[in-house]
Point group: C2
Chain length 345, copies 2
């Protein structure tokens, strides 16, 4: 409407003060007479002035933005429930400070590294989220050398000096195993994510140790890439074998959903002949038939905490590792009493 964009100089002129003073008033810096500050603020808002974040970013040497790079195949991403939920939590944390999320989707590890590098070296972001941390993750060293702030989302394998925000999942793993144990399941199978992802191997280890505690037989374990397709393949392998497990624990919901589909297709009744559990935050688990027993992860809160930690780190505050709310076992229809040995075979 008005023509050109309003600047701090316009506000200053109208208030009869210097631009520096306007800046001080706007940013709540000390050394501005209270009534002068009020007046400046009133004028600025009256004129509808908004800061130019490009200018602010340049003079502060800060982007006031954070980067998230997602390394996923588009098809797999379409069924992924973690990132959308995680992002909504991130958003809630950063938007209240007027900061912003820069999102990038890449489909190769090289591009991923390149994107992290570019985003930080060109000053696009002040810090990044590191998800899907791998064994000896090259990104950790990269970020260190780039001197960028990062928050590790999950469980890194090194005593990283960087802030770490994880989610408490040990309790849920115990509960899930206890649940199946109480239902007389002795022959479990685990469908885990790729071994090189730390949260994938951690998941397996949590389940294994919970089983060991109860003296349960060592389960069969199949590795996947977390996609529904690979979950299907793993399920085939397990169910088409001569002696199939009585329960399959999947490391995420989309694989569990695919597995459920295959079981039913094979004429195996869930849960009377086979129990199935998922893990994650997908809304769809509740609408499947049978509805899926799963472990509900509060990814939104995780995102909120991760973003908060990252902002603190950028501000130079020391960071103690933070842990998001305990994931909770949600028992639904897909798990039930194990079929008795006689009936099977």
């Amino acid at each position: 409407m008005t023509g050109r964009k309003l600047t701090i100089a316009d506000v200053a002129k109208r208030a009869g003060v210097s631009t520096g003073l306007v800046s001080f008033a706007l940013n709540g810096k000390p050394g501005v007479a209270p009534e002068t500050r009020e007046r400046i603020l009133a004028i600025a808002s009256d004129m509808g002035w908004q800061p130019d974040m490009r200018a602010r970013a340049l003079s502060k040497g800060r982007a006031l933005a954070y980067g998230l790079v997602i390394h996923r195949d588009p098809a797999v991403l379409s069924a992924d429930s973690f990132f959308p939920t995680f992002i909504s939590g991130v958003e809630r944390a950063i938007s209240q400070r007027g900061h912003v999320l820069v999102l990038s989707v890449v489909d190769s590890a090289e591009q991923e590294i390149e994107t992290y590098r570019t985003l930080t070296e060109t000053g696009r972001v002040d810090g990044v989220f590191l998800t899907d941390v791998r064994r000896n993750d090259p990104r950790l060293a990269l970020m260190e050398s780039l001197r960028t702030q990062v928050v590790v989302v999950g469980y890194p394998d090194t005593d990283a000096t960087m802030p770490v925000v994880s989610v408490a999942d040990d309790h849920a793993a115990q509960e899930l195993v206890a649940h199946l144990h109480a239902l007389n399941h002795t022959d479990l199978a685990l469908v885990m994510g790729p071994e090189h992802l730390l949260h994938a191997s951690r998941w397996r280890d949590l389940i294994l140790s919970a089983m060991q505690t109860r003296g349960m037989r060592v389960p069969r374990i199949v590795q996947t890439d977390f996609s529904a397709e690979s979950g299907l393949i793993a399920t085939k392998e397990l169910l088409d074998s001569g002696d199939r497990p009585t329960a399959i624990l999947y490391a995420n919901d989309q694989m569990a959903l695919a597995g459920l589909g295959y079981a039913r297709r094979s004429g195996i009744d869930v849960p009377s002949e086979l129990s199935i559990s998922g893990w994650g935050d997908s809304d769809l688990t509740r609408y499947a038939f049978p509805s899926l027993t799963t472990v509900a992860v509060d990814s939104a809160e995780w995102g909120f905490r991760a973003a908060t930690a990252l902002m603190r780190a950028v501000a130079g505050a020391p960071q103690a590792p933070d842990v998001a709310r305990q994931s909770i076992l949600t028992i639904r229809e897909s798990t039930a009493l194990a079929p008795t040995a006689g009936v099977r075979s």
Copy 2:
């Protein structure tokens, strides 16, 4: 490693030229001797110089970034397959120019407006994507007054002066209806999205007109908010009524999946007693049992084209409306011959 960040001045000094010339060389502007340009480029890359995008943004008066604001409940978003796929397409288009996507997730219409406004008024983005366009959408007027570039993703109801990128879905609607018609379905029900969303009512209209063409009986129509939960409720309403339809067409995959779950739970066999179809891009439709007949929308390509149009608009190029690839009917197991009237009821 090296200490402070390299600037264009460092490159200029090393090359023995002015910073202006370095800038010209870097940006491929005319008026730099070819060999000087080569030398400057070599030195810059040799030193590992990267542009500071904050500075570039300020001096160009461009953010070199685009905004996408998603208005969704986090739980619903967890099962949404459109945005992740769409975003991957957007990314592919903008990243090759070093541009970036600013993503925002909000959960109210007021916040949505506020976010669009802030993003553009503070110079965070050069343009925005407008998805989920509504009847008399207030965002259209807002963007107009803000003088921001926008690309409308879908079908606006006004002869907007802004670029529009839609997806060709008419053919698929015809095919879907023809498919069911050929299977002797005469009693259809539509589970559509919220009426005030233009693509939701457009979807209904496409289906209706395809049915009309074939002289089919007017279907029952239930409105939802596109969530799996609302899809479930709609399904209950349809299936628990005395006289249920022989086929239900859902406006998106997540509702279809929820509907499929409910049908099976009610002991209704799909597809022998009830046919079901989805619409969208969810990978999960292929792993359900029965697998879902759906219309595959290439959201990634749609995102690519939308981003391309937006960048062109920002660059000042005139825009003809663009249309993404035809969506295609994917026939799977959930649709089959209609039960004969005698067998039913």
